[in-house]
């Protein structure tokens, strides 16, 4: 268990008292530019002093009796500016990352492969492109076999293809290694994270699962164009003819392109990200369209957002869903609280965590 | 007794080596005499030269010298007072000769200048009267001529006599009051006037044998210097020690 309380003297009003994180899993850190994300990570790594307490891996990192040295925290830290050792080559940078103890979190060969660093090994780091630098910084942080990985926008200059591949790899790693990931991409966080910390004005504002956080109408985050809900689906059988995967969400069937589900075996759970704007509401079931997946749902909330749009909160058996439609549509469909209705979604517009691997060849 | 222990390291295993501290101005002559002495007595001689002031400072602080050939008499006397040198070894071994050198240049034609012409030079180079005996002599001369105050602004002081000579030799300063030894060494044979002895206090160069050194050998060298050594002095611009009354007389010259 990792837990910390982070105190910002200036605006301590409505911050979170304490944050608790499991010793595995990917936790996102989200917030505006200048919200204090970098500051938080630097404090957790022990690089700056700030009021608060940190307990991690059964030890006190910061408490009344002082602070654990940076060197002893055994974190893997990727700063926002990469900060590669400028006098060395890529290989030289990686060579300085000597593994802590005999934990083996990553395998070097695999890491170099995923991060596509093999061809760069002999290059001086001063001659790398922005995205190349970030990948080297990530590899260096991982090669120490850290107990905790602190990533400060590690992929902001990496193109989307690599970014997804690496995101997926991090997701896999997070089964064994807790990861804190700062990112400005809600989509990335939604697809990868189990848990998100929301920061604002130097404070921790909220913690929760992406589905929770991104659909809480009291947080501005749900008003965004890229707001989405997360649904957990059960893997069912695979249809080899159409190359599709059958799923079950709260007892209702769903069929998606098989390559969106590659990583998960039958019987397991797959998180699905449904963009609010992608959901189509219909009074009846639809025929003769390319829309294939519809859920029978109940309206449990209607919120206006931007001027002519509404957010509709929908309830499946267990899970909740957010849809964004125009006011005009809402009016014509006569949507009221408690209404039964159909929520359709295009199979190809679903985003799964597996999605990040279903990519054109690297 | 503050007698220094200096020299222990250098004297062991090289008992036939004599280290002589010699004032810069006397070094060329000392070299000749030392060569002769070391051949005759199978002794190795090392000459450590610096200004008399530096050498005295060093001896005061334990320098491993056996013999000190100073260019003045005050510093050897001080060493004796401090108990660092044998009082009976303090002897005048040579006397310096002050000359007025005015090489040709500008409108000046050259030739042997006259004493009166001292006041005609644009600038005059002397050794620092405070630290160098030749400077002291030059000062006494100028005072005697009533020029000391009036020429202040035209005086240039070398740290030692040698620097004062270089000021003139390099053409930077018109004329100088300098040791004859330096002029001879520099190959200057004309254009200077040997200042009459009575116009400045005697430039007694005195030697002392340093305690805790190889006193025996040092005295032997001193003997040589006062004997055969005297013969080469004249041709190098020094009056022999004997030419000026008795050595005893000059013990009190300081």
């Amino acid at each position: 268990m990792i837990s910390f309380s982070y105190i910002n003297q200036t605006t301590e009003a409505s911050g979170l008292k304490e944050v608790q994180l499991a010793e595995s899993g990917l936790c996102g850190v989200f917030g505006r530019s200048g919200a204090g994300k970098t500051t938080l990570l630097r404090w957790l790594a022990g690089l700056i002093e700030k009021e608060g307490t940190i307990e991690a891996f059964g030890a006190v990192w910061q408490g009344l009796s002082g602070s654990l040295r940076v060197e002893a925290r055994q974190v893997g830290y990727v700063p926002q500016e990469s900060a590669l050792f400028s006098h060395l080559t890529v290989a030289g940078n990686l060579a300085l990352a000597k593994p802590f103890a005999n934990r083996a979190v990553v395998e070097k060969a695999e890491l170099l492969d995923v991060l596509m660093l093999e061809p760069l090994l002999d290059k001086p780091v001063t001659e790398l492109s922005g995205g190349e630098r970030q990948r080297v910084a990530l590899a260096r942080a991982l090669l120490v076999n850290p107990r905790w990985l602190l990533l400060d926008e590690p992929l902001s200059a990496v193109d989307q293809v690599h970014r997804r591949v690496i995101g997926h790899y991090l997701k896999q790693l997070s089964a064994r290694l807790p990861i804190l990931l700062v990112s400005h991409s809600e989509q990335e966080l939604g697809a990868l994270c189990d848990n998100i910390l929301l920061m604002d004005e130097g404070c921790l504002r909220a913690q929760g699962s992406p589905s929770e956080l991104f659909s809480r109408p009291d947080l501005q985050i749900s008003h965004r164009d890229s707001a989405a809900s997360l649904l957990l689906a059960q893997m069912m059988e695979y249809d080899p003819v159409h190359h599709t995967q059958h799923l079950m969400v709260d007892g209702q069937p769903l069929e998606i392109p098989a390559d969106k589900a590659v990583v998960t075996a039958a019987g397991e759970t797959l998180p699905l990200r449904l963009m609010c704007r992608d959901i189509i509401l219909s009074r009846d079931t639809l025929q003769g369209t390319s829309l294939r997946n519809g859920f029978s749902v109940t309206v449990i909330g209607i919120h206006s957002t931007a001027e002519s749009q509404v957010l509709v909160r929908l309830q499946l058996a267990e899970q909740k869903l957010l849809a964004r439609i125009t006011e005009r549509s809402a009016e014509e469909l006569k949507i009221k609280l408690g209404d039964p209705i159909y929520a359709y979604v295009k199979a190809v517009s679903l985003v799964t965590s597996a999605d990040v691997a279903s990519l054109p060849a690297r | 007794d503050p007698t220094p222990q200096g020299g222990a390291a250098n004297s062991t295993g090289a008992s036939r080596t004599l280290i002589i501290a010699v004032a810069n101005s006397f070094r060329p002559v000392a070299e000749l005499i030392a060569a002769e002495f070391s051949q005759r007595h199978n002794v190795q001689i090392q000459l450590a030269s610096a200004s008399s002031g530096v050498l005295a400072n060093q001896i005061l602080h334990g320098a491993p010298f056996d013999l000190f050939l100073s260019a003045d008499s005050a510093r050897p006397a001080l060493l004796v007072d401090r108990g660092l040198a044998y009082a009976d070894s303090r002897l005048t071994y040579a006397r310096g000769i002050l000359v007025f050198w005015w090489p040709p240049g500008g409108s000046h034609k050259g030739g042997e200048p006259r004493l009166k012409q001292l006041n005609d030079v644009s600038r005059l180079s002397i050794a620092n009267p405070r630290t160098a005996p030749y400077g002291e002599a030059a000062k006494a001369l100028l005072q005697g001529q009533g020029l000391w105050t009036s020429m202040q602004k035209r005086l240039v002081r070398g740290a030692g006599a040698s620097q004062a000579y270089q000021f003139v030799a390099s053409g930077n300063i018109a004329a100088g009051l300098l040791p004859q030894s330096l002029l001879l060494q520099g190959g200057v044979e004309h254009d200077y006037l040997v200042i009459p002895q009575e116009l400045y206090p005697p430039l007694a160069h005195q030697a002392v044998v340093i305690k805790n050194g190889k006193a025996q050998l040092a005295r032997q060298f001193l003997q040589h210097l006062l004997g055969a050594g005297q013969n080469v002095l004249a041709e190098h611009g020094f009056y022999p020690a004997a030419s000026f009354a008795s050595t005893a007389l000059h013990r009190g010259a300081d």
């Binding site: 022990g46 830290y77 050792f85 400028s86 120490v144 | 220094p4 334990g62 320098a63």
Partner: protein, 229 residues
């Protein structure tokens, strides 16, 4: 080897090289910790220490030499201790020359190192800490390689300064041929004795040789240090 140099010249040359090399090496070992401390401490007395480091410069070398002579004398504060420890007098020994030269060249090594250390990218050192690198490892793997050129250049200046040093060495060394008579003193003696031919020969040879050695050193320092993009 004979370019008209006397045995005395050769002995002095050898002594000079030895003295300068030992002095520079010792300074390059001792100064980095001091420079590092000066570069990073936030203590109020830092400027005082910086001033003390620069202080030997204020005194003319001969005068500095004089005070060292006083200190190194067998009855002096340092000399007596030294004698008790090693059984030999300090003044007029090679060790005395080394200590004097070190003191005299210290600021020229400390100050460039300090400036170089201050220019190091702190973020790289922070990352190094998160990688678990010990201070010593950080020094040898990051700080030293990144300040190679500055260290080299400081070493060259220190070496040259010691070669040309004269006042201190003359005062505490005593111009004893083979023991403490370095090249600068021999050269000075030639000039003092109006032996210009010997002076020109020695000065010319020294300058030519130094020009060559310095050029090569600077080339080497330059090759090892590419400017970052």
């Amino acid at each position: 080897m004979d370019f008209g140099f006397s045995a005395q010249d050769i002995a002095a040359l050898w002594l000079t090289v030895k003295l300068s090399a030992v002095t520079t090496l010792l300074l390059l070992v001792l100064c980095p910790p001091l420079a590092w401390w000066l570069a990073h401490t936030r203590r109020w007395h830092r400027p005082l220490i910086e001033a003390i480091v620069a202080l030997p410069l204020i005194l003319p070398p001969t005068v500095l030499g004089f005070y060292l002579l006083v200190a190194f004398a067998p009855q002096g504060p340092v000399g007596s201790y030294w004698q008790a420890l090693f059984g030999t007098p300090l003044a007029f020994s090679f060790s005395a020359l080394v200590i004097g030269s070190m003191l005299y060249s210290l600021p020229f090594i400390v100050q460039p190192l300090q400036a170089a250390y201050q220019a190091i990218d702190q973020r790289q050192l922070e990352v190094a800490r998160t990688l678990g690198m010990s201070p010593l490892r950080r020094f040898f793997k990051i700080i030293l390689p990144q300040t190679k050129r500055a260290t080299g250049a400081a070493g060259v200046l220190g070496f040259s300064h010691t070669v040309g040093e004269f006042g201190v060495v003359l005062m505490i060394g005593g111009n004893i041929p083979g023991a403490t008579q370095v090249l600068s003193i021999v050269l000075f003696d030639h000039v003092e004795a109006l032996d210009y031919a010997a002076a020109h020969r020695l000065a010319g040879g020294l300058l030519l040789f130094s020009l060559l050695a310095l050029s090569l050193t600077y080339s080497w320092l330059r090759a090892g240090n590419k400017a970052p993009r």
